[in-house]
């Protein structure tokens, strides 16, 4: 594989989708910082010091919040391990962006016939489809992670600054907390898991994008849903005629969830093979590291890899389709 060509292909994808992959998450990140940060700063600095604080569902109670060192350390622990949670709207946006990106990636170039220009250059169909899969599974998530990290960090510092106006120094314990530095690394460590889980969905969406003559969205969503309905109908029919229940429904539902939901970050927590133990409470806060462990544990399941393989096969099919799709 030619890495120079790949670099340019990735750059080309970024030029084309800069709006949805960079400017949109940036705008959301700025809004998050302005609204949440502004509210927190205003609330903490203009009103009383709270008697209890709830951070992502973890409540720290007591009147002594701002007073004892112990309480401050506890808040710092919680904040430093959970602050990236503030970026969740960005990951919701990411899901929508990747979904629409994959559906358009191989369809739009056929619709506007620019495929004829790209194909006049020495760039193979394999490289092109691969560059689009990499953009969906690595480039877009990395941009969102970076923006999410920066926005969360800013929010954290705004919160600390607001505390500081009431004479409570949160910067010290916070900066001393190893979780502050480990959290972004943990997020990054989840990326390989994400790629494995996103592969079936990215493969499916790119396949539809390469195949559909029109309305790729309708095909991409319609085919799995119609399939689900047919399986349901068969199951009902089998049950009504008194036959053995076929037990197909769970498989069909899983297929639809993987094909359409695989690009959702953290989707693996909703599958029962990889049920997370929940957020374990550690000595001083919560054990976010267990999330990473639980995520990797889902890779021990053979089904996950079989689906990833199916995703790769669909990418290959998308590449073959692009080779000879004649738009007249």
């Amino acid at each position: 594989m030619n890495t120079v060509t790949m670099k340019w292909l990735l750059r080309r994808e970024f030029w084309e989708y800069k709006g949805s992959m960079f400017w949109a998450p940036l705008a959301v990140a700025v809004l998050l910082v302005l609204f949440i940060g502004g509210t927190v700063a205003y609330g903490l600095s203009m009103h009383h010091i709270p008697t209890h604080i709830t951070i992502n569902g973890q409540t720290v109670d007591g009147y002594s919040v701002g007073v004892t060192l112990e309480a401050r350390n506890r808040i710092a622990q919680l904040a430093s391990s959970l602050y990236l949670g503030a970026a969740w709207p960005l990951f919701g946006l990411l899901t929508a962006v990747i979904f629409s990106y994959c559906l358009g990636a191989l369809h739009d170039e056929r619709r506007d016939r620019s495929i004829l220009f790209w194909k006049s250059l020495p760039v193979s169909d394999g490289m092109t489809v691969l560059s689009k899969a990499i953009t969906a599974m690595l480039v877009a998530p990395l941009i969102t992670m970076a923006l999410g990290f920066i926005a969360s960090l800013l929010l954290l510092f705004i919160g600390c600054a607001a505390f500081a106006t009431r004479g409570i120094n949160m910067f010290g314990p916070l900066l001393a907390s190893p979780d502050l530095y480990l959290s972004p690394l943990r997020l990054l460590a989840l990326l390989p898991v994400y790629v494995v889980w996103a592969l079936p969905a990215v493969g499916w969406l790119l396949l539809v994008s390469s195949w559909a003559r029109a309305k790729p969205l309708v095909w991409a969503v319609g085919v799995p849903l119609v399939g689900l309905l047919i399986v349901k109908w068969i199951s009902l029919a089998a049950a009504n005629t008194g036959g053995e229940p076929l037990g197909l429904m769970p498989y069909a539902q899983e297929a639809v969830a993987r094909l359409l939901g695989g690009i959702m970050p953290g989707i693996w927590f909703t599958f029962d093979d990889g049920v997370p133990p929940g957020l374990r409470t550690a000595a001083n806060g919560v054990d976010v590291g267990s999330l990473v462990t639980a995520s990797y544990a889902t890779l021990a399941d053979a089904a996950t890899w079989l689906w990833a393989l199916a995703g790769a096969a669909m990418l290959y099919a998308a590449m073959r389709l692009r080779r000879y799709r004649d738009e007249g």
């Binding site: 120079v4 060509t5 670099k7 340019w8 292909l9 750059r11 080309r12 030029w15 084309e16 170039e109 506007d112 016939r113 620019s114 004829l116 220009f117 194909k119 006049s120 250059l121 020495p122 760039v123 193979s124 080779r323 000879y324 004649d326």
Partner: protein
């Protein structure tokens, strides 16, 4: 490898319709070939087959490669403009130059920038801000800067005004073409390309009806301005086409087909070589009926 493109029994069917019907042809290196035919005659289909854009039947070798199985190798040495105004709307001029320079080992960046400088294109301009003519200018600038062994141009100047069209063909001939390159052009504006062509191929209903070099055509086809008193004598020699210009009969003769000689024709009136357009119209008679 003597031929740049060599086709044997090349056939392409779209469902029941046969777009290209078992054609054979050879294009040697160092030629500028005009592939000329009415709409739907199979010109574009033939070119698409040669460029590996569609599957086909029969055998076809382009620069020694099979476009079906060796397209990636083929594209190192081939460039084409398959249609006008197909650059994506979001592309900027400078990004387009960067991208082609990045992926194409035979791209000459200075040359492309020189062509672009001769137009009203600005580096930061996006395709969606351009007129159709400007999009074509950008596309041509990019393609002309690629040192390909085979250049395929399918209606390259559609939508361009006459001044730029003339200039394009002049650049193509003076700046681009040399004895190691081969150019295949299809166009409706035959009169603009006939001076630069070395070979002609007429295609009609999926078959090649005429394939010859311009010299052969000059020897074979003769147009005569027949004087009034010799019209019936001229008709007896079976002209392939006749028309009337300012009351005078102009007849077109195929010296190869009916064994008429130049001397015989000179006796009938003033002789000259027909234009490609007139030859085309005469050859294609009936295709529009």
């Amino acid at each position: 490898m003597s031929s740049v493109i060599s086709a044997k029994g090349l056939t392409k069917r779209y469902g029941k319709r046969t777009a290209v019907d078992g054609i054979d042809f050879d294009i040697p290196a160092g030629r500028i070939v005009g592939l000329i035919g009415p709409n739907g005659s199979g010109k574009t289909t033939t070119l698409k087959a040669a460029l590996g854009l569609i599957p086909f039947e029969g055998s076809l070798s382009v620069l020694g490669f099979d476009p079906r199985t060796q397209r990636d190798d083929l594209m190192q040495d081939v460039c084409f403009i398959a249609d006008v105004a197909i650059l994506p709307r979001w592309l900027r001029v400078k990004d387009a130059v960067d991208f082609v320079a990045g992926v194409h080992p035979r791209f000459n960046r200075d040359k492309a920038e020189r062509y672009i400088a001769a137009t009203s294109l600005k580096p930061s301009m996006k395709v969606k801000e351009m007129s159709k003519g400007m999009i074509v200018q950008l596309h041509l600038a990019l393609v002309m800067a690629i040192d390909a062994k085979l250049l395929v141009l399918d209606e390259p100047t559609l939508g361009l005004d006459i001044i730029y069209r003339k200039q394009f063909y002049q650049n193509l001939l003076e700046d681009y073409f040399d004895e190691h390159k081969t150019i295949v052009i299809t166009t409706h504006q035959v009169e603009e390309v006939e001076h630069i062509l070395t070979d002609l191929m007429f295609i009609r209903e999926g078959r090649i009806v005429l394939a010859a070099s311009m010299e052969e055509i000059g020897e074979r086809y003769i147009e005569v301005m027949v004087s009034h008193d010799k019209v019936s004598a001229a008709n007896a020699l079976q002209p392939i086409d006749r028309r009337t210009v300012f009351g005078k009969s102009v007849m077109l003769f195929d010296a190869a087909a009916h064994g008429v000689s130049r001397q015989q024709l000179a006796a009938l009136g003033e002789t000259r070589n027909p234009s490609v357009a007139d030859l085309f119209v005469a050859t294609m008679k009936g295709s529009y009926a």
